[in-house]
């Protein structure tokens, strides 16, 4: 029985009440639009297609690693191994693309999935908190990469053509961007239209209730971490292809920036809220901020602190603090 809003206790008709009900994603979008306009007003070149291409490319990598990270955060965990995995994948990819050819792409995704699955098993079977488990595996991935090659390796000259999977263009759009959107789409469909995707959110929102409702917590978390591995591997592939090389610390910056991307989009670190669309906004926002500061000529000494301030401000605006009383 549907009833009029007046009869309904929870309905708030004031503007403030409505804003409180507004999903955090709208705030993230508002912040994004605001920054785009601000940068454009300051420097019209910001919206020229050449610059949009730069933003798109860096957003593509943040997006692929972010969508994986997103699910682990939604389940209430975190994946700190993405940086190590990106590095490992970049090294393996560069070294195998000569022999495996195009098969190196799916091969590396498979490696990512396996590494992610191992993270999941450490969490669900050996019951090590994800923060510690992935910190450990992240270190292991980096050392394996170091054991394979301590210094940067380049894609062999003969195989550079194969990198067109990422570096080329289709329908006038850069493949790297299209690929990341493809990954996004797959993750999006899984999140919204499959039971496992829904379960990831239920587990994050209320793990006890999920268990009592027959949700398989173990497999749900394993899936989340496996996909985090796939996302990181995809990011590693795009990164290695763009850079024509791989080395054991190439992924290090992405540990924190992937988390920042997820949180900027409005996904709560406490789990259960947020999702793919948020991460898309977060990735674009993050690269707009990074690129915008260079394009508008912010002093290099200020850039880091300004980026940090922006992240704090964005989270302040978009994060739904009604949900949690104590923020960890």
């Amino acid at each position: 029985m549907t009833v009029q809003a007046e009869e309904f206790e929870g309905a708030k008709r004031t503007l403030a009440g409505r804003l409180k009900e507004t999903p955090s994603i709208y705030f993230s979008i508002a912040v994004l639009v605001f920054f785009v306009l601000l940068f454009y007003w300051h420097e019209p070149a910001f919206l020229e297609s050449y610059n949009l291409g730069i933003i798109g490319l860096s957003a593509a990598i943040l997006l692929t690693v972010g969508i994986g990270q997103c699910w682990t955060i939604v389940t209430g965990g975190i994946d700190l191994s993405v940086g190590g995995l990106i590095s490992l994948v970049s090294v393996i990819f560069v070294l195998t693309v000569g022999t495996l050819g195009l098969w190196a792409y799916p091969f590396c995704l498979l490696i990512g999935a396996c590494c992610g699955y191992i993270n999941g098993l450490l969490l669900t079977r050996i019951k090590i908190p994800s923060f510690i488990a992935t910190l450990g595996t992240g270190g292991i991935f980096v050392s394996v990469a170091y054991l394979i090659t301590p210094k940067a390796v380049s894609v062999p000259g003969g195989s550079i053509k194969l990198l067109n999977v990422v570096n080329g263009s289709t329908f006038g759009q850069k493949n790297a961007i299209l690929l990341s959107l493809l990954f996004f789409l797959v993750f999006f469909v899984i999140q919204y239209f499959t039971p496992i995707g829904r379960n990831i959110f239920y587990v994050g929102s209320n793990i006890k209730m999920s268990w009592l409702s027959g949700v398989n917590i173990v497999s749900t978390k394993n899936v989340a971490f496996t996909f985090s591995g796939i996302g990181a591997a995809a990011a590693g592939l795009i990164l290695a292809s763009r850079q024509f090389s791989g080395y054991p610390t190439i992924g290090a910056p992405y540990i924190l920036s992937s988390i920042a991307t997820v949180v900027l989009g409005g996904t709560a670190m406490t789990g259960g809220a947020g999702g793919m669309l948020n991460t898309l906004i977060g990735a674009v926002l993050m690269s707009v901020l990074q690129n915008g500061m260079t394009v508008t000529g912010v002093d290099v000494y200020l850039q880091q602190s300004l980026l940090g301030t922006m992240i704090i401000l964005c989270v302040w605006v978009s994060f739904d603090r009604n949900k949690v009383e104590i923020v960890k």
Binding site: V3, P195, M209, G214, K323
Partner: protein, 514 residues
């Protein structure tokens, strides 16, 4: 029943509130309420959820500030900054479970934040603290070692410790006649413990005043000196408890009669012959001895017993949350073995938990998400969920169960308790379970909504659903059940038939329970 309370000129009220008003944006939570507390009395405060009881109490302890009205303490006008301020003026509240740190001892908890008063030579004088603590605990008749960890004491003892601590604090701040507020103190207690609690309160009354808030009207009438009734943010009436009548109070609270056929006994029907669930000599070491139980199609079994009687553990085993150590479980004639809740669900056994906010619902998600949670796999094709089928299914159940919500996309956290409970029930019904275990289905729900839940239980049974219920009160158990199964100390002591023509009285069966 008299009119609004007036200050007796012969004595000073400890607390006197006049025309208290509190608004939250458009909603007036308290509308010109008068309220008075005299020394040495227990005041029972009753009203439905949303009647304004807790708003008034929050003003009393300084958590809210009134928009208008007079507030006098011992005859002096006052306005509290915060709850500490209220404490200094001798008013404090006992919270149900919230304020204790579980891995600290009783002693540590009692003096938490006030250790500096026991400092001798720069160190804490443990011996003096211990002595003091034992003295404090003796006042509330708790004979526990002060070094016991809070985690290891029962909820009843915990509550007593809270009361003791509050009393100590208020005295510590120099209150001659402290005022303590107890909000639903008996929900977590056993009957015996309830008795102890009220004995203690009567003892404490000699030197303090107590405000008792409870849904259990019998308790309030039996244990208070005066009952004050609120409705919709307004003061309605007050009466001395000695000549209070429960039906009259209920009528005043709800604004309509609630006599007879309370549990819709006339709709009770005889169960079919077919067995839904048969337990044969199941047992679990340390919880319950081998017992057998059978549940028929359309039958309602009331599982009755104190906490520790084994009834909770039995239900947990049936639901796959714990495991039987032996015996056979037959569901519709087939032997089954449950390892996890999902096994039980696959066999058509559902569970409406006591703590619906934490165990029954994803409060951040919409009604549609919650209702469809168990059947996502059936709502689409090729592993993909069809949103329109989700909406259809949820809409169907919202209509069927009469969940009051403006749309199926509203967050469950924004619904009232009764409607949340309906969503939990809808969730299980939509998954097609045949057996439903209802764990205190009406807890914390106001009287109007309770009635609807009773009606729903009858309809379910009519439709052939088999139910096991555990209720808040014995009356409810008797009123709703086809059969009472009474457990005590881990075994079934009696089974009592409860046909609608011949309901036993609580007195008939109480000795089988305790």
């Amino acid at each position: 029943m008299s009119n609004a309370p007036s200050a007796n000129p012969n004595r000073t009220s400890v607390v006197l509130m006049r025309r208290m008003t509190k608004r939250f944006r458009a909603v007036t939570a308290l509308d010109r309420v008068d309220f008075e507390i005299n020394p040495h009395e227990i005041v029972g405060l009753v009203g439905e959820n949303g009647a304004g009881k807790s708003t008034l109490m929050k003003i009393l302890v300084g958590l809210y500030h009134p928009d208008a009205g007079e507030f006098l303490i011992n005859g002096k006008a006052i306005s509290f900054k915060d709850s500490n301020d209220a404490m200094r003026h001798g008013i404090g509240m006992v919270f149900q479970d919230g304020c204790m740190i579980h891995n600290l001892s009783i002693l540590d908890n009692v003096f938490l934040g006030h250790e500096e008063h026991f400092i001798k030579y720069g160190l804490m004088d443990k011996k003096r603290m211990r002595d003091e603590c034992v003295k404090i605990l003796a006042k509330v008749k708790v004979e526990l070692d002060p070094d016991t960890l809070i985690r290891n004491v029962t909820s009843a003892e915990k509550q007593m410790v809270e009361i003791a601590r509050l009393l100590w604090l208020l005295r510590f701040y120099g209150a001659e006649n402290p005022v303590m507020i107890l909000d639903e103190p008996t929900t977590v207690l056993q009957e015996q413990e309830v008795k102890t609690l009220f004995d203690t309160l009567r003892e404490l009354k000699k030197s303090s005043s107590i405000i008792l808030i409870s849904h259990r009207l019998e308790e309030v009438i039996a244990n208070s000196d005066r009952v004050v009734i609120f409705k919709d943010g307004k003061y309605i009436a007050q009466m001395p408890s000695a000549n209070a009548d429960i039906h009259q109070i209920e009528e005043l609270m709800v604004g309509r009669g609630m006599l007879g056929n309370h549990y819709i006994e006339d709709k009770q029907r005889e169960p079919a012959q077919r067995f839904r669930l048969e337990l044969e000599n199941v047992y679990k070491r340390g919880s319950f001895q081998p017992l057998s139980l059978s549940l028929r199609e359309g039958e309602i079994i009331s599982l009755v017993g104190l906490i520790g009687s084994g009834k909770e553990e039995l239900c947990r085993c049936i639901l796959g949350l714990a495991h039987f150590d032996g015996g056979r479980v037959l569901v519709e004639g087939k032997e089954r073995n449950f390892r996890t809740p999902s096994d039980a669900i696959a066999c058509g056994i559902g569970h409406v938990p006591i703590d619906r906010r934490n165990e029954g619902l994803a409060l951040d998600y919409s009604v549609v998400s919650n209702i469809n949670m168990l059947i996502l796999r059936q709502l689409g094709r090729y592993g993909l969920i069809a949103p329109w089928r989700e909406r259809e299914n949820a809409g169907h159940w919202v209509d069927e169960i009469r969940v009051k919500t403006p749309s199926v996309y509203v967050k469950c956290g924004n619904l009232s308790g009764g409607n949340q409970q309906k969503v939990v029930i809808a969730k299980w019904l939509s998954s097609g379970v045949k057996i439903l275990i209802l764990d205190h289905p009406t807890r914390g729900i106001d009287i109007g909504a309770k009635e609807e839940i009773y009606k729903r239980i009858r309809l379910l049974s009519e439709a052939g659903m088999s139910l096991i219920i555990m209720c808040d009160t014995l009356e409810e158990d008797i009123g709703l059940g086809n059969r009472l199964v009474i457990m005590k100390d881990g075994s079934v002591t009696r089974e009592v038939e409860c046909s609608k023509e011949a309901k036993p009285t609580p007195r008939d069966i109480i000795e089988a329970i305790v």
